[in-house]
């Protein structure tokens, strides 16, 4: 079956190599289009003025932070079920991008909150859940970095990702509950501006751009991971880029 053909790191390496430049290109084009729509075409918001434009970056990175974690959980389940090595590598490749997205979500969220609601941080359900999601990412990265044996590292990471993903909806639910209980003291960030269709277009373009960017980065990263993991394999040692580098090093 075609799919299992690409489960072999050897084949996936070449596929990823062909794919990522195109994804990066389309992502850039979409980003330009999205930013143009968002900053040059869309009008200012009735309630929030020009500050609302932060959503053109805040919403896409927030969605990606959640989506990437789901993708990690998906690859982890695949890896635990089918024992494919590539699954562990893809999960690892996704984690840093996911963590970055979570951080950017918090950062842009804080900078949006200050002018709108007067405070950089508010313990509302979404921000708090995003903070915990960041910890989940950092935990995954810390665990997989700390374990030296590759196989154990991959599988432990996969277990953690699966357990974590089961927890994400529970965490969100619990934080939302906690937030409504203490409603009096808190302000909610869930009020977004009413979306004119132009604004929505800009946001969707940016979200798509972020998604393709994230995939492109993950593919780039997984190629490097494959190289290191299989560095003693014949197919790696005979790659043109490796032979070229060897020639360079021995000439030096």
């Amino acid at each position: 079956m075609k799919l299992f053909h690409y489960a072999a790191p050897h084949n996936f390496y070449h596929l990823a190599g062909r794919l990522w430049p195109w994804l990066a290109l389309v992502a850039s084009a979409l980003a330009v289009a999205g930013l143009w729509t968002g900053f040059m075409v869309a009008p200012s918001d009735a309630q929030q003025g020009q500050a609302y434009r932060i959503i053109y970056i805040h919403v896409p990175v927030s969605w990606m932070a959640m989506l990437i974690y789901l993708a990690m959980a998906f690859w982890s389940v695949l890896g635990l079920a089918f024992q494919t090595r590539l699954s562990g590598l893809m999960t690892r490749a996704l984690a840093p991008t996911g963590a970055l997205m979570a951080f950017l979500s918090l950062w842009t969220g804080a900078l949006w909150g200050k002018p709108m609601w007067g405070t950089y941080w508010v313990w509302d359900a979404r921000l708090t859940s995003m903070l915990i999601l960041l910890f989940l990412y950092l935990g995954y990265i810390a665990l997989t970095s700390a374990i030296e044996d590759p196989r154990r590292s991959d599988r432990a990471g996969a277990l953690l990702a699966v357990v974590g993903s089961v927890n994400v909806p529970i965490i969100y639910f619990s934080v939302q509950w906690w937030n409504t209980l203490h409603q009096g003291a808190s302000v909610s960030f869930t009020q977004s501006p009413r979306m004119a269709s132009v604004m929505l277009t800009g946001m969707l373009l940016m979200s798509l751009a972020m998604w393709l960017y994230a995939v492109a980065m993950a593919l780039r990263r997984v190629r490097s991971l494959i190289l290191v993991r299989d560095s003693h394999a014949a197919w790696v040692q005979q790659l043109p880029e490796v032979l070229a580098l060897r020639a360079l090093r021995s000439a030096a």
Partner: protein, 84 residues
């Protein structure tokens, strides 16, 4: 065009710091990510080269051991620089 001047664009209705603070930091960090994945590839290729060197050293050491055990007078087909 919704902006009547460049100054107005940068000011963002008084929220310039927040908007550009968000966009700016995001752009910088994403660019940094692109850079680190690029550097990661260089490091990975270096690691492969080092693994290759370690492998050939092993093969070389193995050949030395075989030579030594067979004795100096024997003609040995392995003795012609077959390190690859």
């Amino acid at each position: 065009m919704i902006w009547s001047s460049a100054a107005e664009f940068w000011a963002m209705g008084g929220y310039g710091d927040y908007v550009w603070g968000s966009m700016g930091v995001s752009l910088v960090l994403l660019a940094l990510e692109v850079l680190t994945t690029h550097m990661g590839r260089r490091q990975a290729l270096d690691a492969v080269c080092e693994a290759m060197e370690a492998d050939t050293e092993e093969v070389h050491d193995e050949q030395q051991r075989v030579h030594a055990s067979l004795g100096p007078a024997r003609m040995n087909p392995l003795s012609s620089g077959a390190s690859s």
